[in-house]
Amino acid sequence: MYDAVLFLSKVMIPAVLAFIPLYAAFRNVPVYESFIEGAKEGFPTAIQIIPHLVGMMVAVSIFRETGALDFYLGLCRPLFSWIHFPEEILPLALLRPITGTGALAFAESIFHTEGPDSFLGRMASTMQGSTDTTLYVLTVYFGAVGVRRSLYAAKVGLLADLTGVLASWFIVCWVFGI
């Protein structure tokens, strides 16, 4: 079953790449010209995002590199050890919504010290797959169209991340045992 799923993920992009132009050609669409027309929009969109992403990355970078993040991690620790949440994985839970590369690097450090098939390794993997870099997604999506007031989107994203973290913890304990 898993092998089938993995195979699907491998052939998905080539299949899409072949199917779209072929189908379009049957519909008499000038495929190459269409491609160029659409592709033209890519560059301005990327440029449009730069100020938003720079603004966010600067804040994240200052927050992390000065040790402010570690300070808040320390503050959260008692709360999480109170509910018996594995302490070693706490930084990943807090890093995940803020910085994708930071979270990935932390997950890799767990794989390195504990091994990917350890309890912590499995939990890190599950958390990594079930949550997303909320702040990055918000910045890029709203930045691309110039929306400034994001209403409740940030709250929803962060609470969904928290749910993902707790659900990962629960399911990994349940399936693999502690």
Partner: protein, 197 residues
């Protein structure tokens, strides 16, 4: 809220710098962050140009409309305010399918295209619409069937069974997505009732 998060991160970083007496760390971190931001955008250019080109072919061939009409019940439930034949729907659904199959870098261009179409329906261009928030909720909770990145990394670190976490990931990601949809509904209602008062 994003305003507060931003201010909070910068201020606590600067204070941490002052407390440790290492102000140059703050400066370096700021410049490093700026560089990283630009680098990520430059990296996005190739992905955006390529996928937006492909998406245009799909649109011209009427594929997006087809996708939208096949998945109409899902769309109706999640995005009740978007007109049935609006192009935004096709992009939203292709964004969701890309996420589902773990094609992360294809999902972003489709999502941005969807945002662009939603922005056309937006009466107040500076403020997000409920439909935009729903799209964001779906993307931040990352509903995925195959966590491709993490499986790759697990292989690299010599995992005996790199795919064993697919099941647990699907469970956790379903929880977070259901939560995101419920919260989105709840906040949307609250926002709507605020406006009426």
């Amino acid at each position: 809220m994003v305003n507060y998060i931003w201010l909070f991160m910068i201020l606590s970083g600067v204070i941490a710098g002052i407390v440790q007496g290492e102000m140059n760390v703050v400066t370096q971190a700021a410049l490093k962050g700026a560089k990283e931001g630009v680098a990520v955008c430059i990296g996005l250019i190739s992905v955006l140009v390529f996928w937006l080109g492909m998406m245009r072919i799909a649109q011209d061939a009427g594929l997006l409309k087809k996708l939208a009409s096949v998945l109409h019940p899902v769309a109706r439930f999640l995005f009740p305010n978007i007109p049935r034949d609006h192009p935004a729907m096709g992009y939203i659904l292709s964004n969701m399918s890309a996420n589902l199959f773990g094609l992360g870098n294809a999902a972003t261009p489709m999502g941005l295209k969807a945002m662009e179409e939603l922005q056309k329906l937006n009466p107040d261009k500076k403020t997000a619409t409920p439909a935009m928030c729903t799209l964001l909720a779906l993307n931040t909770s990352s509903l995925t069937l195959i966590p491709t990145t993490i499986i790759g990394i697990r292989m690299e670190y010599g995992s005996v069974n790199p795919t064993e976490i697919i099941g647990t990931t699907i469970f956790a990601t379903c929880c977070s997505t259901v939560m995101a949809i419920l919260l989105d509904r709840w906040f949307r209602r609250r926002e709507a009732s605020k406006k009426r008062i």
